[in-house]
């Protein structure tokens, strides 16, 4: 088991390296520099000397291959470099922003799992019923709404009209502040999870071994309990793992709208300001997080499903 986990983790290393290379190459050709970004609010540009000096300080004056060499050498020492903007190590910048994003994406996933999976289950156990039709129409609608639009509407409705929740910000990081952005972020994965769960349960319902279970004289509830749930879980788990990636990606939009101080808004900001080391670090961190979650999912699947070899 342990060696399985280690092996799965080792397998992520090439991906992380490839991501590092890809991101580096992409952002080495981006137009504009951090120095030029300092003038974009119209308060006047930096003077040419300072700009030049800045580019030199940040190593942007070197040719691309030299920069890449330095970058890889840094990475090898687990050093992500210095942020242009904060003039602090990227790692400490990321550390500040990681927790809110984790909070938000976990909350969104919890929301979508806790509601989506049971909903899909119930829908599948009563296919064609009112609850099935309503939840699936709801699910397909949930997948079709632009996210920031939904967030904005929720903000107006729940914060302004009803006054139940604060409309924005991290506040004390508590549930009151977390709820709206997490729900806005969680609607799409909820819809998808409900659909996946329903499809998975329906598929397993028709499996031969479920017929065997019925032929044993089991009640439907027992069939679900003893035979259906675990099998459906494997499929649902895989979907959850992949959804984490989507959720973290979409968090960019939600964080910006709700002024949530996470990695997503940091990333957008850093792209806008050409704070390239932070961009690279943030993407790497997001990728690593995604890979970690999916490794965890793989391990869980391997525990549930003995057919997956982990020796």
């Amino acid at each position: 088991m342990l060696s399985f986990i280690v092996r799965r983790l080792l397998q992520t290393i090439p991906i992380i390296l490839a991501v590092a290379l890809l991101i580096f190459v992409m952002f080495s050709v981006i137009p504009g520099t951090f120095a030029s970004s300092m003038g974009d609010d119209g308060r006047g540009m930096l003077d040419a000397q300072v700009m030049e000096r800045m580019n030199k300080e940040f190593g942007l004056a070197d040719p691309v291959y030299v920069r890449f060499g330095k970058y890889i050498a840094q990475l090898a020492q687990l050093d992500l470099g210095m942020s242009f903007r904060t003039r602090q190590p990227v790692s400490s910048v990321l550390a500040d922003r990681m927790w809110p994003t984790l909070q938000l994406s976990f909350a969104a996933m919890m929301f979508s799992i806790v509601i989506g999976v049971p909903l899909g289950f119930i829908a599948a156990l009563r296919p064609g019923s009112i609850i099935d039709t309503v939840s699936m129409v709801g699910a397909v609608s949930g997948l079709s709404v632009p996210k920031f639009w939904l967030g904005l509407l929720m903000m107006y409705f729940f914060a302004l009209q009803l006054g139940w929740l604060p409309s924005f910000g991290y506040g004390d990081g508590g549930l009151r502040y977390l709820t709206l952005p997490a729900v806005a972020l969680g609607v799409a994965p909820l819809a998808l999870l409900a659909r996946t769960t329903r499809a998975a349960v329906l598929e397993i319902m028709n499996a031969d071994f479920v017929r065997t279970a019925r032929s044993k004289g089991m009640s439907e509830w027992r069939v679900v309990q003893w035979h259906l749930a675990r099998n459906a879980l494997v499929i649902v788990l895989t979907t959850i793992g992949l959804q984490f990636g989507t959720v973290i990606g979409q968090a960019v939009v939600i964080e910006k709208l709700f002024a949530w101080p996470g990695l997503g808004s940091l990333l957008v900001d850093s792209v806008t300001l050409r704070d390239i080391p932070v961009v690279q670090g943030a993407i790497l961190l997001i990728v690593m997080f995604f890979l970690l979650v999916n490794t965890l999912v793989d391990v869980l699947c391997a525990i549930i499903d003995p057919r997956i070899k982990y020796t």
């Binding site: 120095a35 000096r53 910000g169």
Partner: protein
């Protein structure tokens, strides 16, 4: 000739229509917003020239001078008096002896010298260097040829002598937050980056990156009785729509408004009472690259100014949240010429001018623009049909702000639309059209006019009323030459909650407030 500035103690006197005669209440939390993006750069204000960062800097830090919003000029802040030598190059400051850093130590001349030396560190490229560079010997430090700035001399702990390289008013330079005075002993420490120490009215309490910065009252602040509130909290909120909801939801005390919300708030009986409007020192304009053949002709540039119905755009699209630009210098500039008439909307005249310039059939140009609602593509979209009427076709080249500043400073454009600082110092603002100013600095249109150069040089050498008169003349030349389409001067609008008192109409940037002047009444949700 000796010039003495009075101590700026009368700040609270003229608060426009906002300040009512009442006793400031103590306690509570002031909840400001930082509307220009979703973060602060960091907690070292020396590294950033952004308005966004200046908002928090004014709570924590102090500079040698401050901008007096009421008098619309810089006034002494950390000094009680200053004398200038007859040649206007040597300034002797009598520093405050009651300014105490948040860690409890008194400020001395050494702190200012240390701060200015730090800003000139050539290896670090601090943007504030551009201000300190007017001090003699600063450039040598920047180039690594000297260890300390020779033009800075400590007479005693509270007396500082500064020698300048040219005859300018240092007040326009040393009020910028980028020149905030740091405590020499503490600022060298690593911890300073996460726990800044300043001279400002509020002591740093906490910072949630990307979310908010909170300061608590600094009891030993040098202005007696101030600050009033216990805490100041600055929420970072770049998204206007979200800010709108939060403001209506009474979660924040101030919000900077865009045109759409300006209209909405004006129309709302409750909200319209809490609007603070200021003519800011920004000129929105379309710069025309004179290396692009049609724009080399003055008549074409004038034709464009005539072809666009600027008033209509301001009224309908910008919702009146701007003032029509007559020339380069804005309303709030000391050298603003009330008698200058803006280019009239006159398509026929535009056509005539174009024909004279040899473009009777019009031409096509590429217009580089960002998505900014006040000086970006939405404006361009409204202009396109107007130019089309006189035969000029426009292709939009959408870019990000970062790219805009890069292409403009390199001259890699045909036309751009931007908002540029045109103050507070009118000389500094107009120098951008001096042929000696490089394109990368601020002469973005690479403008050259011998006549203008002469007038500007004269203005620099003169002072008082004469300088103002010369600057007005220069402004008129710029208007006549029309290197840009003079669109508008920004009207900044801040919405504030009825319980928030003491706001200042800061023309340099309305969002920047001196929090020691603010207080909240009992009715605030955060009054406790």
């Amino acid at each position: 000739m000796l010039k003495t500035f009075a101590i700026a103690s009368a700040l609270a006197l003229t608060m426009g229509g906002i300040a009512e005669a009442q006793t400031p209440r103590k306690g509570g939390t002031i909840r400001l917003t930082a509307p220009y993006g979703s973060s602060f750069a960091n907690l070292d204000i020396h590294t950033s020239n952004r308005a966004q960062d200046e908002i928090y800097a004014k709570a924590i830090h102090r500079t040698l001078y401050n901008w007096d919003s009421a008098a619309n000029k810089p006034v002494l802040e950390l000094a009680t008096g200053v004398t200038a030598s007859p040649d206007g190059l040597v300034y002797t400051f009598k520093l405050r002896d009651d300014a105490i850093f948040h860690h409890g130590r008194k400020m001395t001349a050494d702190d200012i010298i240390w701060t200015f030396n730090r800003l000139m560190d050539g290896t670090k490229a601090y943007p504030g260097a551009r201000y300190v560079r007017i001090i003699k010997g600063a450039v040598d430090v920047e180039k690594g040829q000297a260890k300390t700035i020779s033009g800075l001399k400590k007479i005693d702990d509270t007396t500082l002598e500064i020698t300048l390289t040219s005859k300018v008013d240092p007040g326009f330079y040393f009020h910028a937050a980028m020149t905030s005075i740091y405590p020499a002993d503490e600022a060298v420490k690593e911890s300073f980056n996460s726990k800044p120490i300043g001279l400002g009215p509020y002591k740093f309490l906490e910072y949630v990156p990307g979310s908010r910065l909170v300061g608590e009252r600094w009891e030993k602040f040098y202005k007696p009785g101030k600050p009033y509130a216990d805490k100041v909290s600055i929420s970072i909120m770049g998204e206007a729509a979200a800010r709108d909801v939060a403001f209506r939801n009474k979660e924040i005390d101030t919000s900077i408004l865009g045109p759409a919300q300006y209209v909405a708030y004006q129309g709302d009986p409750a909200l319209s009472k809490g609007l603070l409007e200021v003519a800011e020192v920004y000129t929105r304009n379309m710069g025309m690259n004179q290396n692009f053949k049609p724009f080399a002709d003055k008549r074409v540039r004038q034709a464009i100014n005539h072809a666009i119905d600027s008033d209509l755009i301001i009224k309908r699209l910008v919702k009146g949240k701007a003032y029509r630009a007559t020339g380069w210098l804005p309303l709030s500039s000391p050298a603003y010429d009330k008698n200058l008439k803006p280019y009239a909307y006159d398509p026929e005249k535009a056509k005539k001018l174009l024909a004279e310039a040899g473009y009777a059939d019009g031409f096509e140009f590429e217009w580089t623009a960002t998505s900014n609602e006040s000086w970006g593509i939405p404006i361009v979209e409204a202009v396109i049909p107007m130019l089309e009427k006189v035969g000029i076709k426009v292709k939009i080249k959408p870019v990000e702000g970062t790219v805009l500043s890069e292409v403009v400073s390199k001259g890699e454009y045909q036309a751009y639309i931007w908002s540029n600082t045109s103050g507070p110092d009118p000389l500094e603002a107009l120098k951008c059209f001096h042929s000696a100013t490089p394109q990368s600095a601020c002469n973005y249109t690479a403008f050259k006019n011998a006549n203008l150069d002469k007038v500007l040089d004269e203005a620099a050498a003169s002072e008082g009323e004469k300088r103002i008169e010369l600057l007005k003349k220069a402004n008129a030349i710029v208007q006549e030459e029309a290197p840009v389409w003079f669109f508008n001067y920004n009207k900044a609008v801040m919405a504030y909650q009825p319980w928030l008192k003491g706001l200042q109409p800061n023309a340099t940037e309305l969002a920047i407030q001196y929090p020691e002047e603010l207080w909240v009444e009992e009715s605030s949700p955060a009054a406790k």
